[in-house]
């Protein structure tokens, strides 16, 4: 394979700028900016018709944008060089994937040979790709006879067999069985750890928050900022009333964009070993019994105070303000609580009233029921 320019640190692998797309003069996409960094799992969430599939297809060159530019590795995909890079290093898996009317192995073999006609290890790749999605035993079955979940997994295996640097997935876990969802999440985590950057859409928030390093909600063709704090961690124990979730082992992005302190903290945390650190704070959540990797707390649900205070809220923390940034109509306040950044959204008026600035000591609280575990 020819040597392509490696992205320098911090330079985005995917860069979307002022992108618009219109169907019959109706504008369905209007994205000011989107960046996907190397090693990320970036997830676009939103309802049907929010434009996430269109955005994915434009990024994969399947749809021509009405305006704006998509860059991969710094090269616009409208150029011949960018297009070649797009077709040799990235691949898209459809929500309703099309499997060829032949065996599973032939499906994978065909695309592997398209990309690399002279590859000698194709049979090994087929086995390897099927192993990643936990479907080793269907290689010789006809693809058309598989269940919906199995088809989706085979489509992902087929995409992985060409060893893409960038994997685009449209709703990989919608309308399929729970076992397939688990298998797909595990497979995506695995290939991401091995170096594949992933950009995917989903309306399944569990999938989004379990996998994502960044989540961008989409509405009406626009990319929004996520209004949630996302923390990776694990359940420590559960009693009669509460489940105790320990934050640690790397926190997810707060979706605040690449410049935010939260992301920087998340990035440094993610750089550590994958084992869970037992040092992070514990959050109380209404008692539940589920396999959980992430806690999600809406930034809107966090209350701030200069003084320690008592309330019915089950989670109280204190820390220092590290940053105050404009965030949509309000302000986002990032607070460092024992090494974990918690962000709250408040109005400029409240900031003034509380007299908050960088370094201010602050107390925050949120209800147990405001927390979602995924």
């Amino acid at each position: 394979m020819p040597e392509y320019p490696r992205s320098t640190d911090g330079a985005p692998l995917v860069e979307v700028e002022k992108l618009t797309f219109a169907y019959d003069s109706a504008r369905v996409l209007d994205v000011d900016r989107l960046e996907v960094h190397r090693g990320d799992i970036t997830v676009l969430t939103g309802h049907n018709g929010s434009g996430k599939t269109t955005l994915l297809k434009v990024i994969n060159g399947l749809l021509q944008p009405s305006g704006g530019v998509v860059r991969l590795w710094g090269e616009s995909i409208a150029t011949g060089r960018g297009r070649r890079m797009l077709r040799s290093r990235s691949v898209l898996v459809h929500q309703k994937p099309y499997l060829f009317h032949e065996s599973v192995a032939s499906n994978i073999r065909y695309v592997a040979k398209l990309r690399e006609p002279n590859a000698r290890d194709i049979e090994a790749r087929i086995e390897e790709a099927l192993a990643v999605v936990r479907l080793e035993d269907v290689a010789h079955r006809r693809a058309s006879g598989l269940s919906g979940g199995e088809k989706q997994r085979i489509a992902i295996a087929r995409a992985l067999a060409v060893r893409p640097d960038l994997l685009l997935l449209d709703e990989p876990t919608s309308n399929i069985d729970p076992e397939s969802i688990r298998a797909i999440e595990r497979a995506l985590r695995e290939v991401n750890r091995a170096g594949t950057t992933i950009l995917m859409t989903t309306h399944n928030l569990a999938t989004a928050y379990r996998l994502a390093t960044r989540v961008y909600p989409m509405t009406a063709g626009h990319i929004e900022h996520d209004r949630n704090n996302v923390f990776r961690g694990h359940i420590e124990n559960t009693d009669e009333y509460f489940t105790y979730f320990r934050i640690g082992g790397g926190s997810g992005s707060a979706g605040a964009g690449p410049t935010s302190a939260a992301t920087a903290a998340a990035a440094s945390a993610a750089a550590g070993p994958e084992k869970v650190q037992a040092t992070g704070p514990v959050i109380r959540v209404p008692a539940q019994d589920r396999d959980t990797v992430a806690a999600v707390i809406p930034m809107d649900d966090i209350i701030l105070s200069r003084e320690p205070f008592e309330s019915s809220a089950q989670n109280h923390f204190s820390g220092r303000v590290t940053a105050i940034e404009p965030y949509q109509q309000g302000r986002r306040i990032d607070v460092d609580c024992d090494g974990v950044i918690m962000s709250a959204l408040i109005t400029p008026y409240a900031i003034e009233q509380l007299g908050l600035g960088a370094g201010s000591e602050v107390h925050l609280a949120f209800k147990a029921s405001a927390v979602r575990l995924y």
Partner: protein
Amino acid sequence: MGTALAEAGALIVSGDRELFAIAFNSVRFSVLSTMITSMLAIPLGTVIALREFPGKRMTVAVFNTLMAMPTVVVGLLVYSFLSRSGPLGQWGLLFTPAAIIVGQAVLAFPIVTSLVYGGLSRLDEELTETLVTFGASNLQMLLKILSEARIAILSAVLSGFGRVIGEVGVSMMLGGNIRWYTRTMTTALALETQKGAFALALALGIILIIIAFAVNAALSWMVRREYA
């Protein structure tokens, strides 16, 4: 009529030479005409399905209409070309097997074209996009699309075959129903019925039905095998 049926059975079982010569000729003409028409209609149907061009909807509508063209009209049309007084008269094709084959090919052409177009345009859009995303070249894409539509294409071809093996207007007008030469099952059927030779006519009818059944059985077997 009961005795005619028994005689028909006897004719088939005994392997009556003329009966089988006629059946063989019929199949030969229809296979050849279907092959020739397929070689033109499959590419055309593919182009109509996969390319955007002005007048595309009109073209599709015209081909759909031509599917129902009466055989006699096709026969007359081709006759006016192949007759000694027609533009291609010097080829001397009229009342030869070649004339039947040309006529049947013309008859089947809109059918195969239309059905190939229909089969290809029913393919999921995801197929093309999947091929694009994996970086298939135009030729690779075309071949894979045809391969994915193979059952639809095959059934288009078999529909064309079914139409020509059972038609009488073209064979009669262009072939002339010449014994041992251009007589086909259907023209013989028409002749024998008129002569009151119901046994031979019935035997021919039975063979026609068997062939039609075999073709359909083969098709449904392939579809089942494909989508089981």
